[in-house]
């Protein structure tokens, strides 16, 4: 269970360019559900998602993860939580060029110092599951858009996180690949994972598998 209380996020505070991205958001996200944050561009979806995923801190307010207050934790602990609890799927695949798909997928597990042979098996199994096992030794620049997206999904799952966070995952995918993505998300739910997605794609927020849709506008959650 993720609880947000009075979340505010202000960028460039004190400057003439000060901008309030989120203004007093209160929210509870249940476990083992697919939650979609929808809204127009600039409504604060990505900012809220980055706060939920321990990627940035709110200017004000508190975040509780499974009852534990995490907003005030030092960076080290926050990184540890992020690494073990969350898996991130970005709008762009954000793969590191010049290294293989396998290496990219294994990257989040490096700081944990897991045994290489085990990690390799896990990464290859993940790639096989999403039908890109044959590309494991290719450099990422040779992948198609859909393959790169799937590689980034495998990377998000490498540390076996309980919560998957996806920011506009279908923004750069065609309909066929978007449907394929939603199938993968359905599998996550079946495995007992919590999924939080930001999207303004009807194919995502209107999907039958989505449990809850939260609408955002101007940095606030619409009730």
């Amino acid at each position: 269970m993720i609880e947000l209380h009075g979340i505010r996020k202000v960028f460039n505070a004190g400057n003439p360019s000060e901008f309030t991205a989120i203004n007093g958001a209160n929210l509870q996200i249940a476990e083992n559900q697919i939650t979609v944050l929808k809204g127009p561009s600039g409504s604060g979806k990505t900012t809220l998602l980055s706060i939920v995923g321990c990627m940035s801190r709110p200017t004000a307010g508190r975040v509780h993860l499974n009852g534990r207050e995490i907003t005030s934790l030092p960076e080290r602990f926050l990184t540890d939580i992020r690494r073990k609890t969350f898996g991130f799927i970005f709008q762009q695949p954000n793969l590191i060029k010049g290294i293989s798909v396998l290496e990219n997928v294994m990257l989040p597990a490096y700081p944990l110092g897991e045994k290489r042979s085990q990690l390799r098996i896990k990464a290859l199994a993940g790639l096989d599951e999403l039908n890109i096992g044959n590309k494991s030794h290719s450099n990422v620049e040779w992948l198609s858009g859909g393959e790169a997206q799937r590689a980034s999904i495998v990377r998000a799952l490498i540390n076996n996180p309980s919560i998957i966070i996806a920011d506009e995952p279908t923004a750069h995918l065609d309909s066929k690949l978007s449907y394929r993505f939603m199938e993968i998300i359905e599998k996550f739910k079946a495995e007992g994972k919590t999924v939080i997605i930001t999207s303004h794609d009807p194919l995502v927020y209107d999907a039958a598998i989505v449990d809850r849709v939260i609408t955002m506008r101007d940095g606030q959650i619409e009730v």
Binding site: L49, M55, F88, I96, K97, P108, Y110, P111, G113, E114
Partner: protein, 414 residues
Amino acid sequence: MNSWIEKQRYIIDFTLSSLLRRKVKNIGLLVLYTLIVFILASMMFFTHSIKREAALILKGAPEVVVQKIVAGRHDLMPIEYLDTIKKIRGVATAAPRLWGYYYDNLVKANYTLLVPPTQTTTTNISRTTVVENEPNSQSVDLTKPLYEVNGTKLESGTIIIGNGVARLRQIAKGDYMPFLSFDGNVMNLKVVDTLSAQSELVSSDLLLITEEDFRKLFGIDKQFVTDMTVVVNNPSEMPTVAAKIKKRLPQARPIIRDEILRTYESIFNWRGGMMIVIFSAAVLAFVIFAWDKASGLSAGERREIGILKAVGWETSDVIQMKFWEGAIISLTAFFSGVILAYIHVFFMGSPVFEPALKGWSALYPNFSLTPFVNIEQLTTLFFLTVLPYTVATIVPIWRAATIDPDSAMRFTGD
């Protein structure tokens, strides 16, 4: 512990693949870095070994040399000074020496002509010299003269020449070498041997000649010699004996061996220093380049750090990665540079520095230096090259630390 080691391995692996991804840039840097270390290390190896070599050879030089000074200039010395010197307490033996310089107009080089001690009136030298802290087996046998004659007998009309002279004049054993004497006559002297290559540093331009030929060549009367060498009973009494000589013979100038060693030392230090000044510009250019390369983060690198932090890398992991990056480049450059310098100086005879650092005339000595590496010097070089670069690569930590992990989420281009 195992997971910590595994983590370091992962980070090093990733660092290596990062370095390989920017191949051209990093190889360029590595080459330049290696070149700088190579130049500095070569200079260090060279000056240190040559100083050591010179010191070892000069250990066999006379303890005290006495010259006669007239109007502040070195003058020929009357042979009767010898008796006065021999009578001084503390003097074991004294011997006259005949030597001088000859300018060869043909090759525009100066030779040093010396009459070997056996050719003059020297008696058998009995010594009680004790040399403290005698280095190792490489040290020169003190009973041997400065030059090696290999038992070849020097007779009137013959000479033994140094290797530098032989090379320059392209002559060898059996050839004749013409000399123009003081009265304009030509003297043709036969080369009967060349000097040992071992002592070439100081004997490259040396010519051994008989007393008779020497006097004929320069027109020096029998009652004069160039200077005298003195062996003292107790080496620690050298300055006292020198003072006594000065007192008895006010026109004499005694020079003790330590003073010669000191002069050589300062000459090589000066030469080494001169090279350092020349290369300091290159070093400075490298420092600026390395600092720029190491401390600056490109847009691609910033994006990468953003991604790494977003997928769960801590700031300290990124720091470690940058540390390994700096360490790999600087250590590779350091060891390659030092090894190349070692080969350059000790196996190839340092062709790069030869003209600047060896010898002081048209005759450059040609000899291989005894490999000698001073740990203290290597440590200094390490701290001068590896440390600044590694520190410079750590600087981006502070920048990396400021990259928010959510920057990867905001990144929309590819």
